[in-house]
């Protein structure tokens, strides 16, 4: 009898225990990112470590593409994820629509400090005075050039072009034509490889908007001169049609025009490392050189990259915040960046020996010094699309540089005003 009662109470105990365990069930958070390859492995490894440190939190990693559209739909449908690796440049657009959780309160009670991150990255997380994301990794653009072609052209590879004038000078010497006058090798093309007019405006000390982002100013004298410089440069190469024709012959992978010497200098970012390492290791080791982009009045480069955000309506913002903090620790930052081939947003991680492992990475980390970010304003993507159109119109000689920029500025001002009006009304 006693035995039976003992057995029964033992069963009851087990039942109770399992119930309490269920009550203390794990918090589940979901994390979206759009990486592939080595980056995925690094993320999985960091998530495992995190789950060991926080056994009560379970992270579900979801790999997806077209994140912006999906995020929008998921928030609208009340099924938002908890943490998303998000294109930092879109922060303003999404914050303005109330899609992101303000992080100021979280940051106050944590050890995260703005000065630990690259300025250009942190600045881009702020929309109307509030912080909406934590930078995860950064990138920038530098002048990559081919040492061998420099030597062939009688140029000193240790003395890369420092100014716009020198860039033209060098490019002339590095451009070759065949007997029929068709390009066979080009020095530099200012509108290729992710370069936008915004770059050149910055390098001339100008801006896209005025300080309080109420007026479009990219069509001022600085902007017009920058665009005219681009137009003249392209005409010097033989015109936009000839460049298109030349580039239509470009190959990919091992036949990339830059690796095989069809293009001597280009503006590009650190993401090309993996490809060069894979398809042209000899070129990477012997002939690739990196310098800051030449200046008109100052050095400047777009600094992009991704941030971590908590969408509005995320089910577990507290756990999400713990996860974000873990992801931007120095060790996690180094592990991620080394594996994925990116630059950590945390300066201490970026300047570590492991990240500055060779000349390539050292150059790009140091180049962050010149990093600038695009205006954090919901109108900017649409405004930028008009800037691109203006450049097109000018290099095709449909309009003068001034006409093209005035045309774009008029449209951009309308768009900017509409957004600003909406912001005031909200």
């Amino acid at each position: 009898m006693l035995k039976k009662r003992f057995f029964a109470s033992f069963l009851l105990l087990i039942l109770l225990l399992s119930l309490t365990l269920n009550v203390a069930a794990k918090t589940k958070i979901s994390f979206w990112h759009n990486w592939s390859g080595e980056g995925v492995k690094a993320i999985d490894s960091i998530v495992n470590q995190f789950e060991k440190v926080y056994p009560d939190i379970d992270v579900e990693v979801i790999l997806t593409t077209k994140i912006e559209q999906k995020l929008l739909v998921s928030i609208a449908g009340g099924a938002a994820p908890d943490v998303v690796l998000f294109d930092r440049y879109k922060t303003g657009q999404f914050a303005a629509r109330g899609a992101l959780t303000e992080l100021d309160k979280f940051i106050e009670n944590s050890s995260i400090k703005s000065e630990d991150f690259f300025n250009a990255a942190w600045g881009e997380t702020i929309y109307r005075g509030k912080i909406y994301s934590i930078p995860y990794y950064v990138d920038n653009r530098a002048l990559l050039y081919n040492k061998k072609l420099f030597e062939e052209a009688g140029l000193d590879p240790n003395d890369p072009p420092e100014t716009w004038d020198e860039l033209i000078e060098y490019s002339k010497k590095l451009t070759k034509y065949d007997d029929e006058g068709r390009i066979t090798q080009v020095g530099f093309v200012p509108i290729w490889d992710w370069a936008s007019l915004v770059h050149y405006i910055w390098q001339s000390g100008g801006t896209v908007f005025n300080d309080d982002m109420t007026k479009v100013v990219f069509n001022n004298e600085i902007g017009v001169n920058a665009l005219q410089w681009i137009v003249d440069f392209i005409d010097m190469c033989g015109g936009v049609d000839e460049l298109i024709s030349f580039s239509s012959g470009f190959g990919a992978q091992i036949n990339n025009p830059f690796y095989i010497g069809q293009v001597a200098m280009q503006s590009n970012g650190p993401w090309i490392y993996r490809d060069i390492e894979r398809y042209a290791p000899g070129f990477l080791k012997n002939d690739l050189r990196i310098a800051p982009l030449p200046k008109n009045t100052e050095h400047a480069t777009i600094a992009g990259g991704f941030s971590l955000i908590i969408p509005k309506g995320a089910p577990e913002p507290e756990a999400a915040w713990k996860f974000i903090q873990y992801l931007v620790q120095k060790e996690s930052q180094i592990e991620w960046a080394f594996a994925s081939g990116t630059i950590p947003a945390l300066k201490a991680a970026a300047y570590s020996d492991q990240i500055m492992r060779d000349d390539f990475w050292e150059a790009f980390v140091k180049n962050m010094e010149y990093g600038k970010y695009r205006p954090v304003h919901p109108a900017f993507p649409e405004v930028e699309s008009y800037i691109y159109q203006a450049v097109d119109k000018a290099v095709y000689h449909k309009m003068t540089s001034k006409e093209a920029l005035d045309w774009a500025a008029e449209r951009a001002q309308v768009i900017l005003d509409q957004h600003n009006l909406k912001i005031i009304n909200n």
Binding site: P381, Q389, K393, Y396, N425
Partner: protein, 300 residues
């Protein structure tokens, strides 16, 4: 209505209910909602803000890209639709000959239209490549200019897309083929006895009796061509370049909706396109009596 009739009515509605429900919930409902959105500022996250006809006013008076995209689309429609019809008819006539290997030829000519649009767009990017493309190489062999930039040229990008649209002519070709085979053989026999040449047979028998098929393909072709999207999206990387020369209406609508998140504005664009297509279809229907000839109309 007696019992049997009522029963039949109920069964009828039951049978078509999947379509009725599907149409109401998935097509008609969203259409009404999108009309409401077209009168608002809406970004999917904040509640729509009623602005009246402001989106329409901006489209018509304040947006050069709207007119540009409309121009591009009309240019494409005006050339590609008749050209596709003509090509479809010619191919169908060729494939209606009585040759042993005909099933093989029919398959070959139909095949391109089942290749997914994205895949064939990539194929055509290669065909149009200025330096190594099949088209420029062929032109060169024929002694014609072989340095046309095609998709990268403001002038040639639309003609290139029109040429490319002929690639998908297989669908309408099959319908023409069916139309041709529906023409009674005895009409040709009678014509031959009367001494009609094959040209006259085509002009007075084939063409008139094919008009219902032509009419059908014309309307479907117009509706499809106005909504061209996938191939330009793939070819121009979603931008509609160079110089906006391939910024088609649907592409601009997509950019407004999913790149700039102006859902209200994009909804207004969708409704304008709806009205345009509707108008064209109604005009077609109105004038179809003048040239479309149905066999059932033969009297006495």
């Amino acid at each position: 209505m007696n019992k049997g009739q009522r029963r039949e009515t109920i069964v009828f509605y039951l049978f078509i209910s999947p379509w009725i429900i599907g149409f109401t919930v998935l097509t008609f409902g969203p259409m009404i909602v999108s009309f409401w959105y077209s009168l608002t500022e809406y970004n999917m996250l904040q509640p729509p803000l009623y602005v009246g006809l402001e989106n329409y006013r901006r489209l018509f008076t304040d947006d050069p890209l709207f007119w540009k995209s409309l121009y591009n689309t009309f240019y494409y429609v005006i050339f590609s639709v008749p050209l596709s019809l003509a090509t479809g008819v010619v191919l169908a006539i060729l494939l209606n000959q009585k040759i042993k290997t005909m099933p093989l030829f029919r398959t070959i000519f139909y095949l391109p239209s089942i290749v997914p649009m994205v895949a064939s767009a990539f194929l055509w990017i290669w065909i149009f490549n200025p330096r190594f493309g099949l088209l420029n190489k062929t032109l060169g062999l024929l002694g014609m200019p072989d340095n046309i930039l095609w998709l990268s040229s403001e002038v040639w990008s639309k003609p290139a897309l029109i040429i490319m649209s002929l690639w998908g002519v297989g669908g309408s070709m099959i319908i023409f083929l069916a139309g041709l085979q529906g023409i009674p053989e005895q009409l040709y026999e009678a014509a031959r006895i009367d001494g009609a040449t094959s040209g006259k047979q085509f002009r007075y028998i084939t063409l008139p009796l094919l008009t219902p098929t032509i009419f059908f393909n014309l309307i479907m072709g117009l509706i499809g061509a106005f909504q061209t999207f996938a191939q330009v999206y793939v070819i121009t990387n979603g931008e509609g370049g160079p110089l906006n020369s391939t910024l088609f209406y649907m592409l601009y609508l997509y950019r407004q909706a999913f790149e700039f998140f102006n859902m209200g504005y994009a909804s207004a664009m969708a409704w304008i396109l709806f009205v345009i297509i509707m108008t064209f279809t109604l005009i077609q229907l109105k004038f179809s009596g003048r040239w479309v000839f149905y066999q059932g109309d033969i009297k006495g």
